[in-house]
């Protein structure tokens, strides 16, 4: 894990640019995660101080939302939809296959640091289930074979 001191200027800058915005905590957390890939637990102190909140309140918000993470992700984050529409199109088999191929469970990162795996509840791509995203790319009608091809492509692109 990176030393927070190197990340701190980024966090302070994000806090600074959002100062006047009403209801700014979520935009700040997004800003930090978009830039650093995650929200370093040590940043909570600076966020709380800047917004005049307790550290517990800030931590409470981070932990409430599934999207925010406090550990660095892999190079690529794979999100697999677990919702009903994808289940109707063999989503469960895809989920099991993905976990087996990657050798990890949800919320984990592969040992080589390339892939993180997260569950997601609906990507709004239900007309082409089952769906996954890799980083910001949405991919529909994902069979197990297609999943393996995608893994190979992203591994190669590393």
């Amino acid at each position: 894990m990176q030393d927070y001191q190197t990340q701190k200027p980024t966090v302070l800058e994000i806090l600074d640019t959002h100062q006047a915005m009403p209801g700014n905590l979520l935009p700040i957390l997004h800003g930090i995660q978009d830039t650093l890939g995650y929200i370093p637990p040590a940043a909570v102190v600076d966020i709380a101080k800047s917004l005049n909140l307790s550290q517990a309140e800030v931590h409470g918000v981070i932990s409430f939302y599934h999207y925010f993470r406090e550990t660095p992700p892999g190079d690529h984050t794979i999100r697999i939809c677990r919702a009903e529409s994808c289940q109707a199109m063999n989503g469960k088999a895809l989920e099991a296959h993905a976990k087996q191929q990657l050798g990890i469970d949800f919320h984990e990162t592969t040992a080589d640091g390339i892939f993180s795996l997260e569950p997601v509840y609906c990507l709004g791509n239900c007309a082409c289930s089952p769906s996954i995203t890799i980083d910001d790319e949405v991919i529909g009608r994902v069979t197990t074979e297609k999943f393996d091809r995608l893994l190979a492509t992203y591994k190669g692109a590393k």
């Binding site: 009403p22 209801g23 700014n24 905590l25 979520l26 935009p27 957390l29 997004h30 917004l51 409470g60 918000v61 409430f64 939302y65 599934h66 999207y67 925010f68 939809c81 919702a83 009903e84 529409s85 994808c86 289940q87 109707a88 199109m89 997601v120 509840y121 609906c122 990507l123 709004g124 791509n125 239900c126 007309a127 082409c128 289930s129 769906s131 995203t133 910001d136 790319e137 949405v138 991919i139 529909g140 009608r141």
Partner: protein, 513 residues
């Protein structure tokens, strides 16, 4: 230069539309053909995506589904002249699936360049706002009330009544909040509007601002929709530049500002009070009601919270009048509902139609039956909190009251189809599991009830004191229905009990007498 339309809609992209657009552009150039590629929204006939439409002297000619490998041969076969080839579909608007819809809210989606304000204006855009600017606030609200529009997010609360409450709430600041946290599985109509015609939502929110005296709007958008965020921000920027947002809108002296805010993967934030908490920068805990958000909403001020489709239906109502909109529909369900066919269905897509069509027509005449070719066994309407319907209920008309009469909901119009391989005890368990995952935790029936629900269903399926545990599950559902603070815990029993009642054999139970 020939204009070629290839969608920028997420679902089209998820099937390779970006690669097709790139290949077409490059290969046309290398063959010395002149083509201008417009990235439109999707027509919503998703089994035909990636769809390529070519503008010819005979109108728009469609081809699909087109893969990258097809591009070279299509170009050689005279694609840019609208010539026939194996992927030729003709005019997409003549296909029954499209032709038999009533596209009021989705009138422009798939037709125009979503982020080009000139294109929006050329296709009847901002006519509703123009009319609204000439009306008193009460007259705008009256048009909305007269239209009979009910909240399309799922609760179906009359929009006019909500607006009137905010109009009559005295305050120095009011807000318009768009609920774009479309988390229900099987729904994508909000996303399609935001990606395919974002200006219509912006226009609807601006009219709402005029109607109740609100000068600031927020679109609370789920983080799972990155493409919608891009399109919305591009459209908002264009609206500001052209005097349709900001101070002194079209020299009227009126002000309306608009901003997109991202959610962070919490399903509960689609509940309006939880959404407001989230917008304020807090955990998305549901608030007690009353006070209603219309009286004490965002930052304690009177606030309209409306779904994307409700707000996107406002421009056509103000353009053509409340009566025009009201003339579509049946009973107390007026206007149109953009239905979304998803899951195990041959022809998935967006189908905007007046209330009243039966589920069976939609599933078989348009949906074409299951994708797997097996019999359709269960259909969940209205998202993860909606009831499962069995074959005997498919003749129910799509109408809020008709669905309520069979203990079901229309919700946001999402329809997820399952074939006969589905295990309904699994689906019931999943409904409880989803509630465990997504409960905000404020009230006990939802927070604890859902966990106990998973356990009780497991015991029933394992055969442990089946009868006793079934009674217990029903009792638990009763507690959740009547004791929960919001629809999350209150409606989770819908899928659970409908699965139990209609498909007892999947729980190892004999049919109820």
């Amino acid at each position: 230069m020939t204009r070629v339309f290839i969608s920028r809609d997420s679902t089209a992209l998820s099937l390779g539309a970006e690669q097709v657009a790139t290949a077409l552009e490059q290969q046309a150039a290398s063959k010395g053909l002149s083509a201008e590629i417009v990235r439109n929204g999707s027509r919503g006939l998703f089994w035909l995506e990636p769809l390529v439409e070519v503008e010819t002297s005979q109108g728009r000619v469609a081809y699909g589904p087109v893969q990258v490998e097809d591009v070279a041969s299509l170009l050689d076969a005279g694609l840019l002249d609208g010539k026939q080839n194996p992927l030729y579909l003709g005019n997409i608007e003549e296909i029954a699936y499209f032709k038999n819809q009533n596209r009021l809210t989705f009138a422009r989606v798939g037709l125009t360049d979503p982020v080009n304000i000139e294109d929006y204006l050329a296709h009847d855009g901002y006519r509703g706002l123009k009319n609204a600017l000439a009306l008193q606030a009460t007259e705008i609200v009256k048009q909305v009330t007269d239209s009979g529009l009910r909240g399309r997010g799922g609760a179906a609360f009359p929009t006019g009544i909500k607006w009137n409450t905010v109009l009559n709430a005295p305050a120095d600041q009011k807000y318009i909040v768009c609920n774009a946290d479309e988390g229900d599985s099987g729904t994508f109509s909000d996303r399609m509007i935001m990606e395919g015609d974002p200006f219509v939502l912006i226009e609807g929110m601006t009219i709402a601002g005029l109607a109740v005296g609100a000068t600031q709007g927020y679109i609370y958008l789920r983080v799972e929709y990155p493409h919608a965020k891009i399109a919305l921000n591009q459209a908002i920027e264009a609206a500001y530049k052209n005097g349709y947002l900001g101070e002194n809108i079209q020299n009227s002296g009126k002000t309306f500002h608009l901003e997109v805010r991202s959610g962070a993967g919490a399903y509960i934030c689609g509940e309006e009070t939880s959404l407001l908490e989230s917008l304020e920068g807090k955990r998305g805990l549901v608030r007690f009601k009353p006070p209603l958000p219309a009286i004490v909403g965002l930052f304690g001020k009177p606030t309209i919270v409306n779904n994307v489709i409700s707000l996107a239906s406002i421009p056509v109502i103000l353009d053509k009048g409340g009566e025009y909109y009201k003339n579509y529909g049946m009973g107390r369900s007026r206007g149109t509902l953009p239905l979304q066919l998803a899951g195990n269905i041959k022809h998935p897509g967006l189908f905007e139609v007046a209330f009243g069509m039966t589920l069976r027509e939609l599933l078989y005449d348009y949906g074409g039956g299951s994708a797997s070719g097996r019999p359709i066994r269960a259909v969940q309407v209205g998202g993860p909190l909606g009831a499962y319907l069995h074959e005997g209920q498919f003749d129910t008309p799509l109408d809020y009251e008709a669905f309520a009469a069979i203990s079901a909901v229309l919700g946001h119009g999402g329809i997820v189809v399952h074939d006969d391989t589905v295990n309904m005890a699994d689906m019931a368990r999943y409904a409880m599991e989803f509630c465990v995952e997504e409960s905000c935790g404020k009230c006990t029936p939802c927070r604890i009830g859902s966990t106990r629900g998973v356990e009780v269903i497991d015991r029933i399926v394992d055969g442990a004191q089946k009868e006793k545990n079934t009674v217990l599950l029903r009792d638990l559902c009763d507690t959740m229905t009547y004791g929960s603070l919001c629809a999350m815990g209150g409606m989770t029993p819908f899928p659970v009990l409908s699965a139990l009642n209609h498909f007892p054999e999947d729980f190892g139970l004999t049919a109820k007498a």
